[in-house]
């Protein structure tokens, strides 16, 4: 399966809230807190284990002033980075 069809979801090792458009994510095992920027927060919010990366990127394209290509590239990079940090899981 190509990466854009994969479905990201929040890791069960996290707890989070969106405060004023910014995602505050607690990595529970490490007791570390991450705060995401506006676009990252939206990707986090959309990563509910039901939408594919491509579908999330489509929403980012519609809501932020970026090209479709850049939205997909950035979403893939972002999801990969959060997966590496054990904040997301990919199916």
């Amino acid at each position: 399966m190509s990466i854009e069809n994969k479905i990201p979801s929040k890791s069960p090792q996290t707890a989070s809230r969106i405060v004023d458009g910014e995602a505050v994510i607690v990595l529970l095992k490490k007791s570390r807190v991450h705060v995401l920027n506006e676009v990252g927060s939206r990707i986090w919010e959309l990563s509910n284990g039901k939408r594919s990366i491509k579908k999330i990127a489509d929403t980012i394209f519609k809501e932020f002033q970026v090209t479709k290509k850049k939205a997909l590239k950035d979403t893939i990079e972002f999801v990969k980075s959060l997966t590496k940090k054990e904040m997301m899981v990919l199916k």
Binding site: P12, A15, R17, I18, V19, V24, V26, V35
Partner: protein, 343 residues
Amino acid sequence: MKLDYYQKIVKKTVDENIPFTVHFDLTYKCNLKCVHCYVTEEKGEKELSTEEIKSIINQLAEANTLYLTFSGGEIFTREDFFEIASYARKKGFALRLLTNGTLVTPQIANKIRDLNPLSVRMSLYATDPDVHDAITRSKGSQRKTVKAFSLLKEREIKVAINSVLMKENVGEFKRLKAFAQEIDSGFVFDLGIIPCDNGSKKPLTHRLTENDLIDFFSSNSRTSEWEPIEIPDDSPLCGAGLNTIYISPYGEAYPCVSIRESCGNLTRQPLSEIWQAPILKRLRATKFSDLKECSTCPLKSYCFRCPGLALLEDGNLFGPSQAACTLARARKTTYEKPRKATD
């Protein structure tokens, strides 16, 4: 002062009054009888049902609470504890659990691991079982709590020793600290013993005196820890009502565990309404400079005044707290005491 991203978020929760951190006592029932406990169990009121608690959890999620502490009483005396805690985790909360640990079995430890709590704090008063058991008034309780630490550590759960220091166990401080290091646990200690929730001052007989405090500070800390801190005039009194709230097992909401002026009952009123209670508005509107006596006190830069304690013990939320005055004097004396060059 430059704030990092997270500090900016916390400041936002204070400025915009988001109840970011909530302390929820799920029950007042407990299997121990600690000498210093503020809870008077038998109140003849009915504790919240599972469904009532879930409804409160839903409201907290909507209000953007992130950190939720479950405490008591002893949380594991509630048969529905894991149903409640799992529900809260599904709703995205970072859970902190406060327990005495004595009811933790391997099966319970597995269930705690599956919850992924942020931390589990367990009350340990001494490495000497006799000292601990005399405080809990329950023979064998120290052994059970120590066992719980190993059960949770084996499962890589983040734990911390939660200790209240009082006359009976102040001599245990260094041993408790060493034990925490030995088992790779956090160590949190508190010098604050508060009156009972029915107003009784009985627990205060266990509190360290000013001389005890000076001895304790002098032998267990470095002078630099007691450097005076300037408090800006526009500082809030504390987080109570700004970005925190306390909920009792009966659904009664208070600004914090010590400020027993009710904001309303969550079984009868929505949180959105309770969050606008007059006492909360009063706390939000009060700044340090509004405290007539405290803002001009020469000890103010040594003082960590607790409004709740001022109300409970001295009857005035905005007046001096004798307990805080005693601590501040002890800190000042410790700071000014001549020390060895290595300090």
